[in-house]
Subunit: 340 residues, 2 copies
């Protein structure tokens, strides 16, 4: 089968490798309906995270179960499934309270890479969620988004305790930030402020339910949010970047007693204890337990109540994965869908 | 009247100063029933926080209203009241959700110092809470504790989302940590682990409801907590110190999805973003909105359901305030009560 492999920074090649097979009795093999590039794939692509030899890439997947191990009971060959980038048993004490990314048995969800025709998914019973019947083709991008960026934006909104009557600010206008906007709106926020200076992303943010757009960032962005909230700050702020500047922007834009939900993977962030202490905010986040939200997200998508697949603004065949990475790296594309 | 004044590090003098009077129409003047020294008073005492000229000390107070301004409506001369170290209007959007320490009109609660015979309290209507009738003398230490250390420990437990069925660890065995133990128990925790290596404090922790004591600290302390919780960490950890070591100990002792409530005033703390991100914990704390809890705490104390005044293990006349500081500084006393 074909799979995108990162050999070194900016060196993505699509190669032939053996089709993965069931290795453990709890495994499933999934034939992907489509695949995609994630913003977090850009860290090793840019060399910011080390690449340790040729690495099959991709961790977002949706498709049809091809084969299951002898102990798998909840999915069968022929089922259409969506999974998360993190495989979980979904039965341990940590999973049962909704933190499947921290499962005591956690493993990578797409063990053999997911920018590929097939992937092997460990702990299939705890990881995969079936769709009601075979979805229409046009729903595939949205189901693929549920596998990570939608689930992550959703967790950011939940971690930020978004709810009715609240003002929510979103730091970051990548796919996760934009889907944080969608989540905030669906979860009942009264006002959703997207922080973005890129016109196409602003437009998509408004489509997803942003009521306001703020183009300033850093301290100026914080001042604008405070101006818009009687000087108090937003009730909830979703942080979807992961840098020092974006974290401080999120904390400072939140009112005392308010909530920061941070889902941008932290890189070189150091939070000043005294400022955090006197801010009086709540801080929660981390790698999103997408599994917690998948049943609800799949239902919203298959009922056509949300259309998160709109974040894919570039579509290429898998063979052109390298161009898909480059377009995202250069911010020519928000997110690249790779057709198989 | 007499008041304890800090002139320079380790130089506390009890001096005569004019009795405070009502300055603003929202002020009250309170005649203190007793006063005390707070762990946070030790920061300037030790010179860790700068002392900007002679400073009247103390911020914990309970006593009888002597005089009120023309706009004060909820308390009258003769009422016994308890207030917080932070004066608040109790009507703004921040107060109404229970974050009175971040009130848009916040001011120091004991404007003229509280290690004194009298103190002036601004925003009396929003700050002071009356007791049901005149309390018995033996309740005064507990009511005084409610003014800060009990309210702060209680907030730590609430911020750590303590509740039935949960395992709670408490980092710090000062008055706030010990009262965090009491709060955790009252709030229904199943297991309360006090982290302390001082025998008299361990004993008081057990009296307050600790089910276990851990003497290790730092990484060893974390390993012990994990051993006691199936390798997962505590559901809730109350941090009541404010140092880098204690914060990291608290974060690392908490399970993914669990809650750290931190109430030790941060000094030179810097939290590593990546570790925090992958920990999956909730973080909340800051200066405790004691006012939120005062009605409930006063009721528990006057009904003799809790006895937080047990944290006072040294009692001196106000004139010996200097010795009261020294005893706490040298850890000869947990907390000093100063009789007037």
């Amino acid at each position: 089968m074909r799979v995108a492999v990162l050999h070194a920074p900016r060196d993505v090649r699509v190669e032939d490798r053996p089709r993965p097979t069931v290795e453990a009795p709890t495994d499933a093999v999934v034939r992907l309906a489509a695949t995609c590039v994630c913003g977090s794939d850009l860290w090793p692509y840019r060399g910011v995270e080390a690449v340790d030899g040729p690495s099959p890439m991709g961790h977002e997947y949706a498709g049809v179960v091809e084969e299951v191990g002898s102990e798998v009971t909840t999915v069968r060959p022929g089922d259409f499934v969506v999974g998360s980038f993190s495989a979980s048993d979904n039965t341990c004490d940590i999973c049962r309270v909704g933190y499947q990314t921290h499962c005591v048995d956690r493993q990578p969800g797409a063990a053999t890479g997911a920018q590929a025709e097939y992937t092997r998914v460990p702990l299939a019973d705890g990881t995969l969620v079936t769709t009601p019947g075979m979805p229409d083709d046009d729903l595939v991008p949205s189901l693929l988004a549920a596998s990570d960026v939608l689930g992550t934006g959703w967790f950011g909104a939940v971690a930020a305790e978004v709810g009715p009557g609240k003002t929510v600010a979103v730091v970051g206008d990548g796919a996760v930030g934009l889907l944080g906007v969608l989540a905030a709106r669906r979860l009942g926020a009264e006002r959703v402020i997207a922080m973005s200076r890129h016109e196409p992303r602003q437009r998509l943010a408004r489509e997803f339910g942003a009521t306001d757009v703020v183009t300033e960032r850093g301290d100026e962005g914080v001042a604008r949010i405070r101006d818009m909230t009687d000087g108090l700050g937003a009730h909830s702020v979703i942080e979807a970047v992961g840098t020092q500047e974006s974290m401080m922007q999120a904390i400072r834009a939140t009112r005392a007693g308010g909530h920061v939900g941070y889902v941008g993977v932290s890189h070189d962030v150091s939070l000043p204890g005294e400022e955090l202490f006197f801010s009086g905010v709540h801080l929660h986040g981390g790698p999103a337990p997408v599994r917690r939200f998948l049943p609800e997200l799949i239902e919203l998508i298959t009922n056509r109540e949300i259309d998160p697949g709109r974040v894919f603004d570039l579509e290429l065949p898998l063979d052109q994965a390298a161009e898909g990475y480059a377009a995202m790296d250069e911010r020519r594309a928000i997110k690249t869908l790779l057709r198989l």
